[in-house]
Symmetry: C2
Amino acid sequence: MKKYRILLALFVFVGIISCKEDLKSLPVQPKALTVSDPLPSWNDGKTKNDIIAFVKKVTTEGTEDFVPVEDRIATFDNDGTLWAEQPLYFQLFYALDQIKVMAPEHPEWKTTEPFKSVLENDMEGVLKSGKEGLVKIGIVSSTNVDVETFKESVKQWMATAKHPRFDQPYSKVVYQPMLELLDYLKANGFTNFIVSGGDIDFMRAWATETYGIPSYQIVGSSLKSAFDNTDAKASIIRLPAEEFADRGDGKPIAISKHIGKKPILAAGNSDGDLQMLQYTDSNKYPSIKMFVHHTDEVREWAYDRNSPIGGLNEGLDEAIAKNWTIADMKNDWNTIFPFEN
Amino acid sequence: MKKYRILLALFVFVGIISCKEDLKSLPVQPKALTVSDPLPSWNDGKTKNDIIAFVKKVTTEGTEDFVPVEDRIATFDNDGTLWAEQPLYFQLFYALDQIKVMAPEHPEWKTTEPFKSVLENDMEGVLKSGKEGLVKIGIVSSTNVDVETFKESVKQWMATAKHPRFDQPYSKVVYQPMLELLDYLKANGFTNFIVSGGDIDFMRAWATETYGIPSYQIVGSSLKSAFDNTDAKASIIRLPAEEFADRGDGKPIAISKHIGKKPILAAGNSDGDLQMLQYTDSNKYPSIKMFVHHTDEVREWAYDRNSPIGGLNEGLDEAIAKNWTIADMKNDWNTIFPFEN
């Protein structure tokens, strides 16, 4: 447990969900034949009905619940909400792999910790190097580099690295029902944003292609940076110091700063997303606050309270108390990953 | 001169252009009859030709200069580039007027500086209160308030306040040729952003309506902020401390943070915009770097080198040396403000 917390200290990330109290879905409603189901990976039931009813409500002109297109803002956490985050936040795998990529130019790493352990795939050894070692891995792998070069490196990694459990590229370890939700919202005039605890540049390297969301609709944690115009090759350098942590209170602050409007739909999966949902709940328009609940230990993972990654405690209490929307992975999703099909 | 510099210290703003060396426009080209001129307020000549040739070039598929829609990013400074900035940055007028709006609840201001002078329209007196007095005006008028309330206040001001010289609402003291350029770019698949030294919340209160640019495409300077969920009325509070100054090096840093791509077109008018233009110049795609040059002392103002507001020194040197685009207000624009028509 503790070792994961140490890993967390390294990067600026967020969390998850999954709880003991199973939220019973309502009896399946007889579904009218429709030309196309916008959310085919969602089982019929309360959650799916609530989403579709909400979208219909806010897009029907002439009613008091109508929301103009420019105010149809939707914000999504990433880790644990749009893609998986077990057994570790995927960005951590990038950092470890990047050390291996850089190793040929650093022969001394063969005998220097924490690099030696990384190169020998010895996770025990890596963690034994403590916070200091992990910070070294983070700095060496992801900072003191210009943004474009960093993003290019992440892109190359995404094109080749595979998730340890599913043996699939990380860009495929995303939730098919959430991809459908993004598409459905977009088709209904929503503007989708990612508001993630993950590094903003890390995400922009792949998230546009994966989710169909432009770089300027991707918000995340960030490092301090500097403008460098040496030899008139202007670039932005990622400095080895955190500037902004996009989690907890940081999420509504980031939404205010980057978007300038309150969302009418927000989805998260951990206590780090709670404030974003509270902010959304204060919208003058009708709104949906959704937690993705990790309840499927067979197809994905089951975790929530006191989970070292993606813990969901007060968030779950508040969601239940306020009757927010819970996407129960086991019961609400007939497909979890696109590669299942 | 000095008094303006003090005023500048109060807010987080930017600058301008205008220089002695008149840049001769090329002889007017015979213009082919076209169904519609996308830039009717621009005189025929090199500047207009360059802009139109650039847009045609980057939007023509199958050529090596073609730029995909998602990379057609254009960034615009605001003060002095999209709207005027004389005799003072307009946001300063808001702060002074706001003191008057708040005065009925502060009877003590009638006898307390700097408020006494503000209420008596005594600019000499206001400036005599020095930086300390001006900081007080800034804090009282624009901080310790939630973002939504602040924006509402700015909206009300924009609906009623008039520019001292033109007796027009500030939202009309914008450059007609630049409005046309924004529309022309948008019609050609560009995504327009404002990247201003002005306060991000101040601008979002009116710039969407004025320029047709959504709030999340408006970037600016910002204050520190806090999330407040008292009584479950979640809001973001503007704290009395600067967080980010969006000028100079700050502009490319803000572009990297908010947009995540280098622009292919950037327009500014002061040395505070130079780094944004340098950043744009380093794009792998063809790009336009434009300075709006304030050369018309009759219809607008003429100023550039050593101007207390909107000074343009190194920027103008670099623009001339590198053959960047200069929009000479006197020669290139047949109309400056929409209310002229």
